[in-house]
Symmetry: C2
């Protein structure tokens, strides 16, 4: 091993070294050498490359130990920006974040997903260009684009896969369409997956096994295990809406054609139908939340009962996945503790003691912004990964 400065130095590329800087803490070359076991000459060369590329910046000096005080460096979070897009059935949110995931600008408009991919993607592209301009940035400053859509996605290709509420989107090459306008990779995922990732990176990094459940017009889940999204073979993991609820009336027909599905008993439309049968004027999930907030007893009962049905399915998820936290999000979670109480009641009754030993069941910390935050985090994870950073640096100093 005569040609390299010792074994440990061969372990760490520029991107590996950069991982030590991702937390944003300023460090000197000496501190990096101590953390990485790399030779000082290697550190110097790699730090110089990252400085030249703009990915690191000097941020002041450390105390001198005699002689010229050493310079501290940190991640230059604004070297480039990330585009984060969250498409819903009837809205589109577009945000620009820095390389630490902090949102610099954001806008939300009404947008019908059924307008089809070209219209919708061109709409959000125009919004993104305006947002970038408002920050004095352009499409070439974009390190990557993350986009969440309300349906299953083949993550490897970024193409929606038979999405039920997205007419015209099946197999559409979303990355190719957006790559014509913006630099960097374009990553596409299911919106609930990104909500789970957003919740995880902002609030639960200490709990790397997280299940996020979105309860609204439909019901879906995003699963984080060991800090990574679990997408499954075809990207449909987390599809809880059509799981059969133990004890649910077998005659409740679901829109999928089966009976007793979770969505058919516990999603917004099912709760609204039940309340209308009792004489209340309730149409949307928002109406249900309003009825609960105003203290309507029938609404409280119906939401709590929906929580129990949800809990019955989540008890299975707890035994199967052993998560450390379940986050309940989506419009109906705004009904507050009534939904959560029903969930907790059944999960703690039906799950194994070991699986619920440290389990927390909580409301969302970031609310409707989860999708944007997750889209940004997905891109940052990809463009600041060790191999990608080597390329990032190489391209910028070429």
């Amino acid at each position: 091993m005569t040609s390299s400065p010792g074994l440990p130095s061969t372990l760490v590329g520029t991107g590996d070294l950069f991982q030590l800087m991702r937390d944003g803490t300023p460090r000197t070359r000496g501190e990096l050498a101590a953390l990485s076991s790399l030779a000082r000459s290697t550190i110097t060369a790699r730090v110089d490359a990252m400085l030249s590329s703009g990915l690191l910046e000097p941020v002041g000096e450390a105390a001198s130990t005699g002689g010229r005080p050493p310079t501290r460096f940190a991640l230059n979070r604004r070297d480039r920006v990330v585009l984060a897009i969250d498409l819903g059935a009837s809205h589109a949110s577009v945000a620009v974040s820095d390389l630490s995931g902090q949102v610099l600008a954001e806008t939300t408009v009404e947008s019908d997903i059924a307008d089809g991919p070209v219209i919708v993607l061109d709409r959000v592209s125009a919004l993104a260009v305006d947002l970038l301009a408002s920050l004095d940035r352009g499409p070439a400053d974009v390190a990557g684009v993350g986009i969440g859509v309300p349906g299953p996605v083949e993550h490897a290709t970024g193409r929606p896969a038979n999405p039920p509420i997205m007419p015209g989107w099946h197999d559409f090459d979303v990355p190719a369409h957006l790559a014509r306008q913006f630099d960097g990779p374009v990553l596409v995922d299911n919106d609930v997956n990104l909500m789970a990732l957003g919740e995880y990176v902002t609030s639960w990094q200490s709990a790397p096994h997280l299940l996020l459940v979105k309860v609204a017009t439909g019901i879906g889940a995003g699963i984080v295990t060991d800090g990574r999204l679990l997408r499954g073979a075809l990207g449909s993991a987390g599809d809880l809406g059509h799981v059969q609820v133990a004890g649910a009336a077998a005659d409740v027909v679901c829109r999928c054609g089966n009976t007793g599905c979770l969505e058919a008993v516990a999603a917004g439309p099912a709760i609204a139908a039940k309340l209308r049968a009792g004489g209340l004027t309730v149409e949307s999930s928002q109406d249900i939340v309003d009825a609960v907030t105003s203290g309507d007893i029938a609404a409280l009962q119906a939401v709590r009962e929906a929580g129990r049905d949800l809990g019955s399915v989540l008890a299975t998820c707890v035994n199967l996945l052993n998560p450390s936290v379940i986050v309940i999000g989506g419009k109906l979670s705004e009904a507050g503790e009534y939904l959560l109480a029903g969930v907790r009641e059944v999960v703690y009754q039906r799950s194994l003691p070991l699986a619920t030993h440290d389990l927390r069941i909580v409301g969302t910390a970031v609310g409707s912004q989860g999708g944007i935050l997750g889209a940004s985090a997905m891109v940052i994870d990809a463009v600041l990964a060790p191999g990608a950073v080597d390329e990032y640096v190489a391209r910028r100093i070429a």
Copy 2:
């Protein structure tokens, strides 16, 4: 970047380079250079280190392109060995494998897990020493030890966590006990997790989302996602036995104290009890398999019905995890197609079309050897990982 031979060379340490050799294919230095984009001088230094350590060995010469023909190198699979141990309720299997996972010697004895950790571990240690001696190897030749136990394990520490059928094992430091006798890391996991891993590495590497279900006295599952075991927050992931079966009689009391659990309706004891009520003399899972094999109609029906109950729970797993293959193992899977038929019937009825698009539901390929193969694979993955190989090489050439 003047001190390193170019950007790509900084990406790959000795261990990273070694990953190219793990498939066992012999390669020349030139072929490694082409595959890795590393400079020839770097390749030479790293290959030399791996040759000195014994991890690589020369295996003949490639065709000359003029001048001295270049030497080919390959993983020296017998440089060191792996101890793989599979503990069941009433048996212990011990095997020695090479670094490619091939079993070189194996033995199985009756062993009551309730004898407690010291007696059982000393028993398998003695067996392991004998096996090693039969191969002219000693404890210092052991690269690592993998051990599966019939209960939940906190994987990070290797300590069993409140295992219901392992009296005396709770929180016992299994790695420390075995490390007194053998070299290398000692890794402990649940036996069903290791069956899943064994099935995956030997038969399903093309399908990195796999669910293995063991159906015997109890019912449990091991989950592989993206080629890695999913263990969950406390190592209890895959615990399917006490999931509530939709449609199961609510008055079936399980040994866990809840009602309607999968084990209470579909595991060996439940099937045996049903058959005894019909007048058959059936005690064990083996008796059930024998009755099915001999064509007893009641046994066929009972096993198929158990398959349907299992399928009802697995349909939920399919929606949640989107696996590409479900493997049914354990003693009752020896009843052949009747159990599988029941599973398939309900899974394909109750799962979402996208989730079952490419789904295969099959019997086990490696049978009872899955635990041993998984234990070996777990160790090999750990000791031949990039960082570990650097250490492995450094220690052997020190």
